[in-house]
Symmetry: C2
Subunit: 221 residues, 2 copies
Amino acid sequence: MTTARTGAGRASPRGRRAARSAGDDRETAILATAERLLEQRAFGDISIDDLARGAGISRPTFYFYFPSKDAVLLTLLDRVTEEVDAAAGDVLVRLAEDPRARWRELIQRFHETFGAHRALVLACAQVRGTNAEVRRLWAAVLERWVQAIEAAIEAERRRGAAPDGLPARDLAIALNSMNERVWYATFAGDGPAVDERDVVDVLLDLWLAGIYRDTTPPPST
Amino acid sequence: MTTARTGAGRASPRGRRAARSAGDDRETAILATAERLLEQRAFGDISIDDLARGAGISRPTFYFYFPSKDAVLLTLLDRVTEEVDAAAGDVLVRLAEDPRARWRELIQRFHETFGAHRALVLACAQVRGTNAEVRRLWAAVLERWVQAIEAAIEAERRRGAAPDGLPARDLAIALNSMNERVWYATFAGDGPAVDERDVVDVLLDLWLAGIYRDTTPPPST
DNA sequence: GACGTCAGTCAACACCCTGTCGAGTGCCAT
DNA sequence: ATGGCACTCGACAGGGTGTTGACTGACGTC
């Protein structure tokens, strides 16, 4: 369930046919077209025909590569979440060094990665409402992050840096949810939103307050 | 901009024609059908024909009452936000009596009102991505709430109950955003979510942490 | 070097949904 | 009785999706 593309044909994704068949180019072209068009208009205003023409193929041919418009988005989303995971790296295991700095680093990296793909992230948030697959993928990704944060909170409590309080999982869910929605508003720019330059510090402050009741949690001794 | 229905005909919403013309019934029937159908399937899977047939009229006739499917949702949303505002009442001006109890009351009432219309609220959250009108209305509603919370936070700081820190507006935005997303997950039931019975307390805890750095803020002396 | 196979391609079709137009129908005031 | 208005819908145009079936060309095989 890591890769969502599956496609219609091509059982073995990178089979015997030496390197990059013509189809590989087309698939890449579709993805690139999607990402490009998303910078210009909303996902709902992009038709399969737009994607196909952008990739230099006809509409029916599009279906050879992807079962639907949403599947393209899914593939793109999969990529970005991998990128985010890579950016987050091992920050959480090094929390005790300097909690405030590490949490900030984590939030900052999420912010940068999402910001670099804001059109795509916005599109996913929009489509999540109508598409069950996107919803499921996003839920799975979120679950991973929630579990990581939950574990980190518990570790901080165990070493006495953070007080007991809410169940760590509930706290992790709420904090992740806050980030998601706040980023969405900031990137979308409609409705009340935190300024992009401040958003990391605002979120950080609330994470520290929620986890430590304090903006300067103690490092390990 | 309070009422969003506008409709195609009927310049004067409640004109001379004595009480309730036949059209009034139809309009109500459409709204009722929409709310009923929303409990069963997603907004996107409800066609205008469904709404019309449910109200006992033909599809073209639907357009006499509403300019689009989204306009129906908009009207419904307008209603719920009014209900929420009424439920919230003057809780915020009585904050100093017992801050923890009052904040809890506020969150609790939001929770109850949204919970009573969860299908509708979920539909709006979904459509907000694709429909500019819903987005604008929601943004306006949110802006009102954010301003109210911002003012309340500033009042708490002025009387010395809450410490200075983040700009009150940013704090208000983040807390409102958190609530919105957390409720969405709880009501939608997909992805990581806080249990419905705990959600008020979880949110309350984070509000108090964010605003007071303390779960038992002082009442007025 | 004919031949089957299979990735890749698309014109044409069937379908569904939206929004509009124009021709009604019945009620009410004048 | 008649003109206007609230209200109604059959029929159409348009645009999107997803599928079908025929076609092309490169490749391995005998």
